[in-house]
């Protein structure tokens, strides 16, 4: 209680950290909206103008937002909507319909969802009545009745737009674009997609009704901006309860970002992908290491997190194989080398393995065929090997043709890391031909 009285009194360290975690986690995981969109001001302005024309003047529009995954398409749209809804006139006028290609997998479901979200009169509670045809006719009738001056504008937001193009006959898209082209109720159709060739997916009649207005979000980010972004993402806001802690934290973050090794790590991530989601993932991993015992992010944390992100998953899996399975993989590698990537079967692999055993006097790996078969099947379960053709049922298991899904360097690297790898096995793997 005393805490609440004295607002500016410093909180204990644990509480501060909890609070900081809370704030930063919200930011990384929920992708909270920034106050102002960064780097996409022009697109923001364009889209805002466009939607305002629909919302205020009743002009029908259609637009596609195109950009790679994690480029901030949804964020841009949300920002625009937030800014748009600040005007009271728009607020009470505009109707929104949110659809997602992942959820509304066919037109029937999408139509029900539209009817539900528009609260039309064949909706009771949240149940929608009527067949698909009735629903469509009803909806179109409702849209047609309206005109530019009197009816409320509707904003259709189609996320994962490319998935809507896979619906049968593209009925929904056709009707939406058709309404936006003719003088009916004012609607704006905003599609969000990550496919650059999305217009090729549309049918000709649908394409001709689309306004061909596209907003591209292609990141033109430089590394300095990237670094800056990492810093702002990690720093605490001004309204943090304990200002002294926030100040210290922010100073720590600044020194962290100036560290040479940190810069190197971030550079590597920047070169592999520019999107912010992978950055968020990296920072989230760093943040999770912060505790009372270690209240700041150290460069070593970032290094560890980056190692975790960039680790080769297949090499990790190879590490856990038994020595017999590893021997089989080496035999497969040799077969691939000798026969230049031709598929192989279990018999050939076993034969290759037997040749290795014959050269070695000690026969500690002398296993029966069924034991080897079991190891081989385990490799198949892990999808490290894969059947070359799908006609699996016809042939006997030992003669089924397989392909190795690993490359040379992965195997050699895994062999180096393998715990207590026998020397003769290692040498066998090194030797060029069997």
């Amino acid at each position: 209680m005393s805490k609440r009285k004295v607002k500016d009194a410093p909180l204990p360290l644990g509480d501060c950290l909890t609070e900081a975690q809370q704030v930063l986690r919200e930011r990384f995981c929920r992708q909270q909206l920034p106050d102002r969109p960064e780097g996409v001001e022009a697109q923001h302005k364009h889209l805002l103008e466009l939607l305002k024309r629909t919302a205020v003047h009743g002009e029908s529009n259609s637009v596609l937002i195109v950009g790679p995954r994690g480029a901030g398409k949804t964020m841009l749209l949300q920002c625009v909507l937030r800014d748009l809804l600040e005007e009271t006139e728009v607020q009470k006028n505009l109707l929104q319909v949110h659809l997602n290609g992942l959820l509304q997998t066919d037109d029937r479901v999408a139509l029900k969802e539209i009817t539900r979200q528009l609260h039309l009169e064949n909706v009771v509670g949240d149940k929608v009545f009527g067949s698909f045809a009735e629903n469509l006719a009803f909806l179109l009738e409702a849209l047609k009745k309206g005109d530019r001056s009197s009816s409320r504008p509707v904003l259709f937001i189609l996320e994962e737009f490319d998935l809507f193009a896979h619906h049968k006959n593209q009925t929904l898209l056709y009707n939406l674009f058709d309404v936006s082209q003719s003088a009916q109720a004012p609607i704006a159709v905003v599609g969000i997609t990550c496919r650059l060739d999305v217009l090729e997916l549309l049918e000709k009649r649908v394409k001709s009704r689309f306004s061909h207005r596209q907003i591209h979000l292609l990141s033109s980010l430089t590394f300095t901006q990237y670094l800056q972004r990492a810093r702002t993402q990690l720093s605490l806001p001004d309204n943090f309860p304990d200002s002294k802690f926030a100040q210290e934290w922010n100073e720590d973050v600044t020194t962290l970002c100036e560290d040479k090794s940190v810069e190197e790590v971030l550079q590597r991530h920047f070169h592999s992908s520019k999107d912010f989601r992978s950055l968020h993932m990296l920072l989230m991993l760093c943040l999770s290491r912060v505790s009372v015992a270690k209240p700041t992010i150290k460069p070593a944390d970032l290094l560890d997190a980056s190692r975790l992100c960039l680790a080769d998953a297949k090499a990790n899996m190879l590490h856990g194989l038994s020595i017999l399975e590893l021997c089989l993989i080496i035999a497969m590698k040799h077969l691939n080398d000798v026969y230049e990537g031709e598929p192989f079967n279990l018999q050939m692999v076993h034969n290759e393995f037997k040749k290795f055993l014959q050269r070695k006097s000690n026969s500690m790996y002398n296993f029966d065929q069924p034991v080897i078969m079991k190891a081989f099947e385990h490799l198949q379960q892990l999808e490290l090997i894969r059947p070359a053709d799908s006609s699996a049922a016809k042939t006997q298991r030992e003669y089924q043709l397989m392909r190795l899904m690993l490359d040379h360097s992965q195997i050699m690297e895994a062999l180096q890391k393998y715990p207590q790898c026998p020397t003769d096995v290692k040498q066998w793997a090194m030797s060029a031909f069997g």
């Binding site: 949240d126 999808e383 006997q396």
Partner: protein, 445 residues
């Protein structure tokens, strides 16, 4: 040990209990716990955990969620043959049966998300909700939208929910064509030999000392470690063979400390176990029965694969032999093998073969019916009329899956077959009819 599992959001004693249950997985549990954060904090939308079979993925998840009393739904993708079952299970464990009854008859993903939102809007999650999907590799075979939707479920339902995927297969094989929300990847490494020893030594028999049992585990790992690292399999084998290990002790022949003699006693037994119980040739019940009657040699009982011999009619046997010869011999050598007066065939040409083309490596080749019958008449000494019974025997061999019909384009006109039996099997068959098959096989000349 408990220093790794510390988190301000949870009670000390609960964490203590978790740490006791999670042997050798403290590092992974600690990482997970710090990623999950305090119950009321946000967690990353999706976490993908991969690792080998029996590396404690489900166990760690279950113990953490149960002991810390977090709201969670555990869904096994093997059980969920359709997405509907998944929806029902998730709604049931988060919101109770009322929510499930709201689902329409054949719910789509859209209905699920709508009902989830509806349910959670009056009571937004005070704690992070977790959906654990076991054997997540099966999600790839279901509806193509399901996996991407699950990965961004947090965004779709606007609730503090985290989807955790557990799988044996690496994430690269999951990624859909147009990409998706990337989950956070976490690897559970395999147990090292020392860790396996430590875990297996946990479930010791109380009537024997700890050193005795750990010596036993040591011997067991010495035999099986190079073949199998699956903890469950090893635990099963350890439980099965322990009574045999104790046998000399109860007979009073050796003392507990005499490790070498105990090893001498158990090692051949374990080697035999690898050929039988490990391959499930002999069921564990049978194995235990064998151990009871010690006068009978272990493994004398025939396993599953020894039961493969089939009683066939006389001509069927020859048909099968002929099919085997047709499958594994090149057609150009038929004249040399099966014709009495085959004229001159140059020996060098005939014998020219390299190992790469050996049919016992490459597998059986398809052959036409005519060739099968020609070889059949040649190997059967008596005169056989091509009656309906001979042809029906061929088709019944196909239904027995001893032969396989290769192409389905024509049933009657020149069908092609493949022989689908092993060398051991055909040798056993030819022995019953006094036919020396090895003499006729090109690979063994």
């Amino acid at each position: 040990m408990t220093t790794l599992l510390q988190h301000p959001g949870y009670e000390e004693e609960k964490l203590q209990r978790v740490a006791e249950l999670l042997l050798c997985r403290e590092v992974q549990a600690g990482t997970l716990l710090s990623l999950m954060g305090q119950p009321q904090q946000r967690c990353y939308p999706s976490i993908f955990i991969y690792g080998h079979r029996a590396s404690g993925k489900s166990h760690v998840m279950n113990v953490l969620l149960k002991e810390l009393e977090l709201p969670h739904a555990v869904v096994s993708c093997v059980e969920c043959v359709s997405a509907v079952l998944l929806f029902e299970q998730v709604l049931l464990s988060f919101f109770g049966c009322d929510a499930v009854s709201l689902l329409p008859r054949s719910p789509s993903l859209s209905d699920f998300v709508r009902i989830y939102r509806q349910q959670c809007s009056p009571s937004p999650a005070k704690q992070t909700r977790y959906i654990v999907m076991e054997k997540a590799e099966l999600l790839r075979d279901t509806d193509a939208n399901l996996l991407p939707a699950l990965l961004r479920l947090q965004e779709l339902v606007e609730d503090n929910v985290t989807v955790i995927l557990l799988s044996e297969i690496v994430w690269d094989k999951f990624r859909p064509n147009t990409g998706c929300f990337e989950p956070l990847l976490l690897h559970f490494p395999d147990y090292s030999k020392g860790e396996l020893q430590q875990i297996l030594s946990q479930d010791r028999n109380p009537s024997y000392s700890a050193e005795f049992y750990s010596a036993y585990i040591n011997i067991l790992l010495g035999v099986f470690y190079s073949v199998c690292r699956d903890l469950r399999e090893l635990r099963h084998l350890a439980a099965l063979n322990f009574s045999k290990f104790c046998e000399p002790l109860s007979e009073g022949k050796v003392k507990e400390t005499d490790t070498h003699k105990l090893w001498r006693n158990i090692e051949p037994h374990l080697k035999k176990a690898m050929q039988t119980v490990y391959l499930r040739e002999v069921s564990s019940l049978q194995w235990e029965q064998i151990q009871q009657m010690d006068e009978k040699e272990t493994g004398a009982l025939r396993g599953l694969s020894a039961h493969t011999h089939v009683e066939l009619p006389y001509y069927s046997k020859f048909l099968l032999i002929a099919a085997y010869l047709a499958s594994y011999n090149p057609a150009r050598t038929d004249k040399r093998f099966f014709l009495k007066h085959h004229g001159k065939i140059r020996k060098t040409n005939f014998m020219k073969k390299n190992e790469k083309t050996s049919n016992h490596l490459l597998g059986p080749k398809p052959f036409p019916l005519d060739r099968l019958l020609a070889i059949f008449y040649s190997v059967v000494d008596s005169r056989v009329a091509p009656t309906a019974s001979i042809f029906s025997q061929i088709s019944s061999l196909v239904t027995l899956q001893l032969l396989a019909q290769v192409s389905h384009d024509d049933q009657l006109d020149a069908p092609k077959y493949k022989c689908a039996v092993s060398l051991d099997f055909i040798c056993a068959i030819s022995r019953t009819v006094n036919f020396d098959i090895v003499k006729y096989l090109y690979d063994f000349l």
